[in-house]
Homo-oligomer: 355 residues x 4
């Protein structure tokens, strides 16, 4: 049997819990040996729940006191660069949650830090490991629907994210926090990089939910022109309240393909003919992507065991960040924005500039 | 333009209204010129609603005072023989609702009365005109799923039928009033006559709904062995309360086919993630078989205009009645019953015998 | 019974045949008494098929030689203004196919011509009469999903339209010929007029199909900002080859609603487990909107009989044309365009200007 | 962390592989330390694939040479009694695949052997651990659809089982090998034991597939009357060729519930409008019940770790065997058979009697 991979989980919140549970319940080859969170209540609660003995307020302390092979970083976006660099410095492989970073300079630093030391870097785009998305991608790449012409991808999340994730200055906003998955997914499935993006946004629930950031929005459409000439549309709604909704529809020269549905389970009930048939909806993302979360962690563990490069890495994360920046710039300037505008090394993200 | 067909509608109740509405709204070539019902309130209500001028308490009076080409008989089963014979005597073509009659002797009388005079006789098995059933039948007969091995057909109706329709002495009960459609449908789609039938029944709601007939049942499974060797299952529930449900599933040597669904409309809503997705169910039979009712009446009108024999007639109605009788006998005797037992001319339906 | 409405059908092509068939088969209260088409072969073919006696090369001749109450105009967009004005001059009610006209001046002329004489004008937006769209609209307006925030509407058509319909100079292109229905539909369901529109297009099949017009495109996304603040996305693909596809998805503050599906019939077959389940798709628009075409024509007939204003008229047609113009301008100028730019009476459609 | 459970897998064939793979990939707390199979080629192939070191031709040898906590028995039905008794004698907990045994005497021996020594006995009815069946059961027991009146359960398997499994003398035939799951499932969901059963069978593919056992059948309907008065229908087809199909439909006094579907994945494709929409079907049982297989093994491992009685055990297995026997007797005698006939200790299964 291959050597078990020892992991330090950074962040004891929602995503940290999800990955800790996945490792404990479904991944015999991986073991969470250390948990890092500055909030001790959460550190202990998550540590207790998943029987993790090593608990530390900082990664530095964990590095100092425990031995492990890899880190899984689940903390807010603005911490990604610093944590990755510290882990890499100590020779740890890195599984990094999306969005990769705040801007392209940070992405470049992260890529350089891991590549220089020959460390693995996997991005948390779990859709790449979802059985439906994987099967669909194979069929698209196999030519079944012909050359892709048009794609729609949506992510609608039920609840309002935390304040830092709503404010474009601290997170680049919803297009980053919610729709990074779509930005990666459409580039992957279309086999082409985005060339131009146009963003329209709306704010319907912000005030009543206490979201007061200057450019807050809870609805968006991103229209993308790909380098291949194809078109993309990404839809984001958060909070949508009605469930967790992630679906893709793609039209090729020969046909159409739909990936995913809202239906959370094949159980249909009718107890009132004036109401009709009732079927469960996916309530939260861990339900929708249950297999995907297991498979992405198993993939990372196997890559660490075998020294294989992960299927989704820094370059993919960087393209998603570039799309986030171009989209946000489009919203602020009311015009379509070329990706090359934000890929220009001379350009500095104005909404992140310190005063 | 072909000559308009003049019709006398017998029965001003639910089915009489349905067919009158169909003719008025969707069948330019047919016209209801007379309406017959002994209950004058209902006669006038239905007559007013569909602007039918000729209104009569009896068919005899309608025949005496109006000119028409055909009758549509929508009255209780036990009246079918007498009404058909009277209509046929006056040279009228007959559209006869299901079940055809109370027993095989009545069926034979009806067939003879119309055949002798060269009159058309169409049975009200509207599934034979439903676009989905028609398309499915063509594909089955074309060999798409291979030789049929097994079929399931269900009809679950929302509300308790009237008292006469629940009492096997006056109607042969639910297998006749609700499941005649299935009995015809499985014989049609399997391309084989039934050989043996076994009926299990249950009574769950009778008492609370005031249905006190001796052999009342509101749930049944009829298991059929066809002459071809294939198997059939018919499910009946009435009152099921949850909607109107009519579906078929058939397995052939090469594959499976499903016909129909519960979903009444392609409108899906979710407004509560704990509840899930909601889709309309078919509430009543006129919704489910809206096209079928139009097409069966248009077919009858065209047959009358052109002198063509209808696609579904007396022989089909007779087989459904034979199956009803064998099924009921099976229930009463607790054993599988061969169709040849009830097809024997010497056999008299014991539950219909007058004391 | 109400007086039968006498109709002159203008255009003996695809749409003329559809409406003639609808009237002959399903609308007892309307009668096509005259058919107009300059191409005599088509005139006779369609006239024979639907048993229409009056056949004329021009509307002028039909007006001269026959008596009728109303016209149904199914000819190319650039003929709409002239035909409507001639019909109105002779006191005929008008059912006008979409798109209403080439530009807003023509729309205004059409509205004025009918309104001045108290004539009815119904636009051919059949989705307003589709049972699913009607039920959905009632539920949206009843508040079931809350205030609408975001809508997606798509129309993908199987085959390449005729050359005049692909050239923006003669038809305003695909957004007009294919997606006018969506433009009307989103405005109706959102209860708000469009404020700004951004169009991205792509051309994948033009060359191989022989479509050489300068601005030809076969894929498009129109992104709309409504006056209410809500967002819209319209997707157009033509020729898509895979079927006829028309669906809407709308998200309100309380939930989501989907209207329509690709599934053309509830018949599911599996005969090969490596291939999977097969279900019919809607092949063409007459299948998808079978009920809608019947109901819109019945509505027009009833409006003529009773002197009632149709549910969908000139104002609706005019808004769809305005959206078409703003969208096309957006595509040509590579920027979002405000509706007020094209609603400005001083603005002349540059791509329609004669040299 | 709880102590890892050491398991001896008995049988290296299809089911042995499935459970070995589940333990290796998804169950951190269980470990296959020994594999038993008399066929050395299969023993080594499966041993290699799942990296199992201990490999033995017999359970006796494995018991002699290795230490483990529990066995998983996946061999043919007629071996179950002997293997269970041997394992129990050595104090091993037992996970036993369905059908439990050939007859009720064997069931009683198995129950006695484990109970006497306080050993756990779990039956391989994985549907009890499928997320959809579990959720459905909770809702039924919670009263959502009211008192159950009628249930349909089907299992259609793609390929012909091995010869021993087709011959009622060596396996009790298809109702045992394929439909044991349904027999357990309907009893569980209806909350009532079967009282009477009637079996109709058909043989369509036997000859062409080389199945020549005397009472071979490849299609069956079992009609059940429950002690509660409710009705059940079980459908079996094997080989059905078209996929693996397992679904349940249940009607209660208040409504209907459907559990499961044929659709293997939410990926829909259309590339030919004359063919229609294509969706994956479940090809084999490991796909359909992927979660169920993981959860049933995790449940067994947890029960062993904690000394808890499994949710599904000997009593459940015994009722399924009793139903198998009553159904087979019904087929052979052409009449409904009461369960009490086969539960009578004096009754000996005639088709298993040695000559």
């Amino acid at each position: 049997m291959s050597k078990q991979v020892r992991i330090c989980m950074i962040g004891a919140g929602r995503v940290g819990k999800l990955h800790s549970g996945t490792l404990k319940r479904y991944v015999p080859d991986g073991d969470v040996v250390a948990l890092v969170d500055p909030v001790s209540a959460m550190l202990n609660q998550t540590g207790d729940e998943f029987e993790i003995d090593g608990r530390f307020p900082t990664l530095a302390e964990a590095l100092d006191k425990t031995d492990f092979d890899a880190v899984i970083i689940t903390t807010p976006t603005f911490t990604h660069r610093e944590l990755t660099l510290l882990a890499a410095e100590h020779g740890k492989h890195v599984f990094l949650e999306k969005p990769m970073a705040m801007n392209l300079q940070e992405c470049d630093d992260i890529i350089a830090a891991t590549e220089e030391r020959g460390l693995l870097l996997q991005l948390g785009f779990m859709r790449r490991f979802d059985p439906e998305f994987v099967a669909a991608a194979e069929r698209i790449f196999g030519g079944e629907i012909g050359e892709p012409m048009l794609i729609k991808s949506l992510t609608h999340g039920p609840g309002l994210p935390p304040a830092w994730a709503n404010d474009i200055r601290t997170s680049n906003g919803m297009i980053a926090e919610v729709n990074s998955h779509d930005l990666d997914c459409v580039r992957w499935l279309m086999g082409s990089n985005p060339q131009r993006i146009y963003l329209e946004t709306a704010n319907f629930k912000g005030v009543e939910r206490g979201a007061h950031a200057e450019h807050f929005y809870d609805n968006m459409f991103a229209t993308i022109k790909f380098q291949s000439g194809a078109l993309g549309n990404i839809s984001g709604v958060c909070p949508c309240d009605y469930g967790y909704d992630a679906r893709v529809e793609i039209v090729g020269k020969n046909g159409i393909m739909q990936i995913g549905s809202m239906q959370g389970m094949d159980v249909v009930v009718c107890i009132n003919r004036d109401q009709g048939l009732i079927t469960p909806i996916y309530r939260r993302w861990p339900e929708r992507f249950a297999w995907a979360y297991i498979h992405e962690i198993q993939h990372f563990v196997t890559c660490v065991q075998t020294g294989t490069k992960p299927k989704v890495g820094g370059e993919d994360g960087r393209w998603a960040v570039a799309s986030v920046l171009a989209g946000t710039k489009s919203m602020l300037e009311g015009r379509p924005v070329l990706l090359e505008e934000v890929l220009d090394p001379a350009w500095v993200v104005p909404w992140q500039k310190e005063d």
